[in-house]
């Protein structure tokens, strides 16, 4: 039941965000909103990277080392090939291998 409510909330907020500009703005966007539109997306992606890695404990084994190695692979692969799908697959397979074989 709680899950159904949370999914409804997530769906409604997402739909609202997509529809709001069509209902509110007819042509002119306020400069502050346009500014947030430019700077917020990269900041939120940075926030989500930290959010995903929140469970790491750097002071106890395995010290976040599997995450560190897999993340370096994702960043390196993305810088090299510029193909998100390839970077995600490489990092995930490497991480799954690391926690089984090495840590």
């Amino acid at each position: 039941m709680r899950a159904a409510i949370l999914i409804a909330v997530m769906s409604l907020v997402t739909i609202l965000l997509r529809f709001l500009p069509f209902l509110v703005f007819h042509g002119q966007t306020p400069p502050y909103v346009a500014y947030l539109g430019r700077v917020l997306p990269p900041a939120i992606i940075g926030m989500l990277v930290v959010y995903c890695l929140r469970e790491i404990t750097p002071t106890a084994p395995p010290f976040g080392i599997p995450e560190l190695i897999a993340s370096a692979a994702v960043v390196g692969m993305q810088a090299w090939k510029r193909n998100s799908l390839l970077s995600i697959l490489t990092g995930t397979v490497l991480y799954m291998a690391l926690i089984r074989l090495a840590f």
């Binding site: 709680r2 899950a3 949370l6 999914i7 909330v9 997530m10 769906s11 907020v13 997402t14 965000l17 997509r18 529809f19 500009p21 069509f22 703005f25 007819h26 042509g27 966007t29 909103v33 346009a34 500014y35 947030l36 539109g37 430019r38 700077v39 917020l40 997306p41 990269p42 900041a43 939120i44 992606i45 940075g46 926030m47 989500l48 990277v49 930290v50 959010y51 995903c52 929140r54 469970e55 995450e67 897999a70 993340s71 994702v74 960043v75 692969m77 993305q78 810088a79 510029r82 998100s84 799908l85 970077s87 995600i88 990092g91 995930t92 991480y95 799954m96 690391l98 926690i99 089984r100």
Partner: protein, 228 residues
């Protein structure tokens, strides 16, 4: 329905197909591992149709997050959709009966396919855009359902599959870092969140982080607008 338009829309949507299937499958497996089966997965794919938010949503469901946290997190993670919509107001102006669905289905990927405003010669633009959106939506829901079913039958352990979510955001972060001239917004997001994680702890840092990011970026506005 015009056969030619269906074909053109399908060709246009092919680059999104592989990505949506793989990411959808990853999401379905994750959600299955969190204890929510195929109907939940299909419902989220169908009604939310928002890749990264669905990944974050698994975490919220598993943690039994509050309605307020869920609403605020969705708002922040999906706020960028406001700006996709703003830039499509003109393009979707005359879409008629297709308009509500076109707006509903405006994901990152659909936006990237349709934002140039181009449509093939002779095709009804609204119908063409509707079909591209619909094809993308169908790949996504298929991926979500497939992943959920795979999650129940896979005989090997899928431990570690949750890293795909980290990889998703890390790849997006790297890509935008490589294309952007101005790295201040990305660094603001990274360090404000890290600071809030240290101060507020794992369970409660997300909302303070969102508020702090918005505050810092608002204070930096004059400086940031001068850099461009």
């Amino acid at each position: 329905m015009n056969r030619q338009t269906v074909k053109q829309a399908f060709y246009k949507s092919i680059p999104v197909m592989a990505g949506y299937l793989v990411l959808g499958i990853g999401f379905g497996i994750l959600l299955q591992n969190a204890g929510y089966g195929v109907l939940w997965s299909a419902a989220m794919g169908l009604f939310m149709f928002a890749g990264s938010m669905q990944y974050v949503g698994v975490g919220l469901l598993a943690a039994g997050a509050s309605v307020l946290t869920t609403a605020l997190t969705t708002f922040m993670v999906n706020a960028r959709h406001l700006f996709y919509s703003i830039s499509m107001i003109e393009t979707y102006k005359d879409a008629g009966k297709y308009k509500p669905y076109l707006i509903f289905a405006l994901t990152d990927e659909t936006y990237s396919l349709l934002c140039d405003g181009e449509t093939p010669e002779g095709a009804d633009p609204a119908l063409y855009r509707f079909l591209v959106s619909l094809f993308n939506h169908s790949y996504w829901v298929s991926g979500c359902v497939l992943g959920s079913l795979l999650g129940t039958v896979l005989s090997f352990s899928t431990a570690g599959i949750e890293y795909s979510m980290t990889a998703l955001f890390l790849a997006a972060f790297t890509e935008q870092w490589l294309t952007a001239h101005d790295h201040i917004p990305a660094l603001t997001g990274l360090f404000c969140t890290l600071g809030c994680l240290l101060v507020f702890g794992r369970a409660n840092f997300l909302i303070p982080a969102m508020l702090l990011i918005t505050l810092v970026l608002t204070l930096l506005r004059r400086r940031e607008e001068d850099t461009l």
